[in-house]
Amino acid sequence: MKDRAQVVIIGGGVNGLGTAYQLAKAGMKDVVVLEKKYVMYGASGRNGGGIRAQWGTAENVTLARESIRMFNDLSAELNFNVWFRQGGYLFLAFDEKTLKALDKTTQFHRTVGVKSRVIDVAEASVIAPDLNTEGVVGASFCPTDGIIFPWAVLQGYWQKVREMGVQVETFTGVTGFDQSGGKIRKVRTTRGDIACETVVNAAGCWSRDIAAMAGVKLPNEPVRHEIMVTEALKPFLDPMVVDLRTGLYMNQDMRGEIVAGIGDPHEKPGINFGSSFDFLRRVSRGITDLFPRMRDVRVMRQWAGMYDVTPDNKPVLGRSPGVENLIQLNGASGHGFMVSPMTTKLTAELILHGKARSMDITPFLVDRFDRPLEVQPDAMVIG
């Protein structure tokens, strides 16, 4: 392992490797990525692969909308098929109040360049032919939303950055920082120290702990979300389907498996990768309610991952107050994967040019938490 690098990135997930890629692409290749376990151990290897622009705040929409554009080019850029499939996202409303909220959200989407719309039950049946529409009063649909295979994205980035000269050090944990003059001078790891100019904190649910090592306080809280996968089936389901009664989301991945998750309002914050039988029962009820034909389909595997949740459900980006060369890239509250093309690009711009150019990152800065929240948390968080 090198003992000196221009940039040290903490976290071998989609944000860490994605930032390494954006930097290397711009010519900055003296970059080390530190991963305390194996690549894909964290949320990047555990999420459901949903990609959507149907969010509730302008900032989240912009990040997601531009990221979808970038995901479209990613397979070609990385020379690695990331299995991006735009089958749309179908949000199902079962009461008039929810439908009204969807109507309001889609009207807002039209003002920010997202082609979502409210559709009736008949059209929802065409989009998802096997759907049990009993109780459904309407839905919102955006055809350019879709799904991706997270493992393939990570493999693609990982191979590409290694080819470009970036060092990815797995099984290498960060133990602390040497700081002076308001800057990190060295990153201490389980395999030795690395002197550096800039440090990126892309450690997912561990980001708050990493920031604390440098004396920076983040309000992020890790919250467990469970997920499961069935055996593979013949393709029958194009869109990601979301049941707004329960927060159930399900899609058919490119291997034919059904991947599904469901939120638990009683989940307490804290890192916990355990799987529960309660989840399995709730998700199975949710799936068979929506798709009775799936009753005999077998569950193959369940697991859990962590959302890194901020008070306003928006990511944390940019420089850290008091530690100028520590750049935050975390707190994406369950949608970090789908906005990673943009958040990594913005982070790379900040490192390369001293300023994020593609978008104003003021709404994502750490210091926003020092003031009372100006906006409501994004109501479109699910799962």
Partner: protein, 92 residues
Amino acid sequence: MTTPKKIVCLCEDVTEHEVEEAVKAGYSDLESLKRYTGLATGPCQGKACLCTARLIMARAAGTDLSRVGGITFRPPVQPIPLKFLAAKEEKE
């Protein structure tokens, strides 16, 4: 003419050659190999292939089995139809 193949993972159709190539490409622990080749992600969830895969990995990497590691086994132990999990209990 087809080349003879030695299949390691029957569910996901991963060959001995592919495991060896993956090790050469730097996938040196079993968790990483799983996520690269899809090995152990099919209906048997690794019950039929993991011992063989670990031996091949250790041999290809010139290391011992402990360095190859294992994978986290996930519930359920056997695939279960959704209808059994979705069924209501009598008291409900």
